[in-house]
């Protein structure tokens, strides 16, 4: 009996020791990323980094709500997605771990390896809170066949607001296809308004939408739909402008690199190109948004091993994995070293569009897709509503933009 007990205790100790060897790290991200992330984790992380088992947790609810809820309850996963869009709000909770010390101690990664604009975007009060996993910005996607059919030159980098509007008017051929699919969407409109000279807020901290630059931007942005040469995706009967483009119901749309994988999957023979957003006038300013999502960790990750958590983040943003993600066409990598990737030298439309998106991010006038303390929901909600009313002819540009300014001021004032 005593012998049995000794053996039992030995087994128990061994099992305990084994259990301690493997640390489980929870990584929670958008459920849409599931196939890619499971693939990446199986190939490059689990079984490769010793003693670490990363578990993928797809999140279907509103991701910001998930982050706030779990951070507040102390049940946040070890690795979180941090969208630049709401990064500041989450960092302000004081529950996100700055990564500077880990980077300083790391033999593999240094801050110089990150693309500066991305590192800066996630830096608050001098501390870096997330490492970009990828990034995106807006470009004009155009359907070459439709422009050829109507004998209109393709949109190009020299287009101004006026020449672009003219081209869309000439390529529009309803009911077969519209010149463009344009939605009352602040995330598309605001880069144009910023290019026209609208500040994020006025100097006194109030809403800028009643400024002439904002109205000029709104007038141009809604002109397409008001003239019937563009339609919203809802009017075309699809969920988003990209879908209208893929279905060849619109000759042009303003989207980012996220449109490339769906084109490849759903309409791989689509004859398309991509170019920069038009500038306000010849050689004039051009706006754009930088969209990026990074990996971050909470102050006390549940695994209790922040060092290993950082190790996983470091691996997930390593050149090796980023090359893999780039070549799979899923996203644009955030590592400086990948800018010279041979992938960008290819001449197929998918690689060319990826390259255009990549270059567009670097153009002057590109600002982070971020709303600071104002709240993206507040800011964009006011703009979306104004654009909707203008496009439907329920309000003039003047009325709608003044109302949007009042609307945001009320929300900020609360």
């Amino acid at each position: 009996m005593r012998k049995f007990l000794v053996v039992f205790c030995l087994i128990a100790v061994a099992a305990l020791g084994f259990a301690q060897e493997t640390v489980t790290i929870r990584l929670a991200g958008y459920s849409a990323d599931t196939p890619l992330m499971q693939d990446v984790l199986a190939r490059f992380v689990n079984g490769v980094i010793p003693g670490v088992q990363v578990v993928w947790e797809p999140i279907t609810e509103d991701y910001l709500a998930f982050v706030l809820r779990t951070l507040s309850a102390g049940t946040a996963p070890d690795i979180l997605y941090i969208d630049l869009y709401w990064a500041k709000t989450v960092v302000e909770t004081g529950l996100i771990q700055p990564l500077d010390d880990f980077i300083a101690a790391s033999p593999i990664i240094s801050r110089e390896d990150l693309i500066p604009v991305l590192a800066d975007a996630f830096t608050f009060d001098g501390k870096l809170y997330a490492i970009s996993k990828d990034f995106n910005s807006l470009v004009v996607f155009y359907n070459k066949d439709m422009f050829d059919a109507m004998g209109v030159p393709y949109p190009n980098a020299d287009d101004t607001w006026a020449t672009f509007l003219d081209k869309i008017a000439r390529v529009s051929n309803p009911p077969d296809w519209y010149g463009a699919s344009i939605n009352p969407d602040a995330a598309r409109f605001l880069p144009f308004a910023f290019a026209a000279g609208m500040p994020f807020l006025k100097e006194d901290g109030t809403a800028p939408f009643d400024l002439p630059a904002a109205k000029m931007g709104a007038d141009w942005y809604t002109a397409f739909n008001r003239a019937g040469i563009a339609a919203t995706s809802a009017d075309i009967g699809v969920g988003w402008s990209g879908a209208a483009f893929i279905a060849e119901k619109a000759a042009v749309c303003f989207e980012g690199g996220w449109l490339i994988p769906p084109i490849r999957n759903e309409n791989p023979t689509l004859n398309f190109g991509a170019t920069y957003l038009p500038s306000v006038w010849q050689g004039g300013p051009r706006g754009n948004y930088l969209f990026t999502v990074g990996y971050g960790m909470p102050v006390n990750p549940p695994s209790g091993r922040p060092d290993l958590v950082f190790k996983v983040i470091e691996t997930l943003t390593s050149p090796e994995i980023q090359t893999y993600i780039l070549e799979s066409g899923h996203a644009i990598p955030s590592r400086q070293a990948l800018l010279d990737s041979p992938f960008f030298q290819q001449q197929d439309p998918f690689a060319l569009a990826t390259k255009t998106v990549f270059e567009a991010t670097g153009l002057p006038g590109t600002v982070p897709f971020s709303f600071g303390d104002v709240g993206g929901g507040n800011y964009m909600g006011a703009v979306n509503e104004a654009l909707t009313l203008i496009m439907q002819g329920e309000a003039t540009v003047e009325e709608a933009m003044n109302a949007a300014a009042d609307n945001l001021d009320q929300k900020i004032g609360q």
């Binding site: 869009y85 009967g237 929901g377 009313l389």
Partner: protein, 364 residues
Amino acid sequence: MKRKGDGVAAFLFLLPLLFTLTIAFLYAFVRTVYFSFTDYNLFKITEFVGLRNYLSLFKEQFFVLGLIHSLVYAGIVTASQTFLALLLAIVANQKIRGLTFFRAAYYVPSIASSVAITTIFIWLVNRRGTVNWLLELLVQYWPLIVAALGITALAQALQVVWERRHGLPVRALDPVLLGISFLVGSVAAVILGRTGLIQPNSGVEVAIPWLTTRKTFLGIPLPLLSIMMLNIWTTTPTMMILFLAGLQDIPRELYEVADIDGASPWQKLRFVTVPALRPVMFLVITLGLIGTIQMFDQAAITAGIAPLESVITLAYYVYWAVFGAGTLPKVGMASAAALVLAALTLAVVLLQRKLGFSEKGWYS
């Protein structure tokens, strides 16, 4: 017969429920009451602010709008769905062919997920959606529709007069004759349309933005009105089932007595059916009021499309104050609003009982 230990046994049986109630309701409720007096953002309680949250609620545009919308919504939807459900239940209580099919068909909207139904609804009321398409057909073809109906009426009148002249006592709306008249009317309308004697209003386009608009109808925002229609459609069947159960409990003798007294169908409804249904009516109205005053899901889904000001309700305000604005959550305000909502729900149900819709039956 009460035995010793019965109380303990009962308590043991109640324990699982009491446990969940204590955790999920009582604890949450106490916390909410506490938060409603603080300036809390999920991460740090900055201070105890007394009644400030409650006072500033009524200065906040979205809360006041939500309050008005919730009340209007509860009133209109509860009244409409109770009336329609009673009507449907009386129809479904008849002995007609295919009754099971109709009952099932009526009930389908109630069992489908409200999120799925709302998403489909959004497609239906799209600017180029089915609802506008049907309206467009109506607007374009109304001259022909009116012609068809007119000719049908004329044919019916002629037939009835003819049959009566020949000594047959037909009713004015005799179904067989009506079928023939309708056929004549439709064929005539098609011929009139084809020969161009009556022109449809071609080229008329109906593109009413039901959801993405600030327009109002009788002071009610159009998007909220759309949600009302949707909710009446999906909840009426549930209420119909309740009424149906109530109807089947009414003793047949009452109707027989009414028949002997020579009561008309309307009198039977007014003096037998409705009074006998009072307990069910109380249940239907109470469930209706509680459900509608706390409406959240449809508002949350349509708020992605419609202006927030047009669809916000009290329950959605509570969510919006925490997760909607993209800023740190305003938990103090949201808690205060949630308690106002709870108090309002209670008050409305109590008021309803005072007004006489109580659970007491006709026999008491």
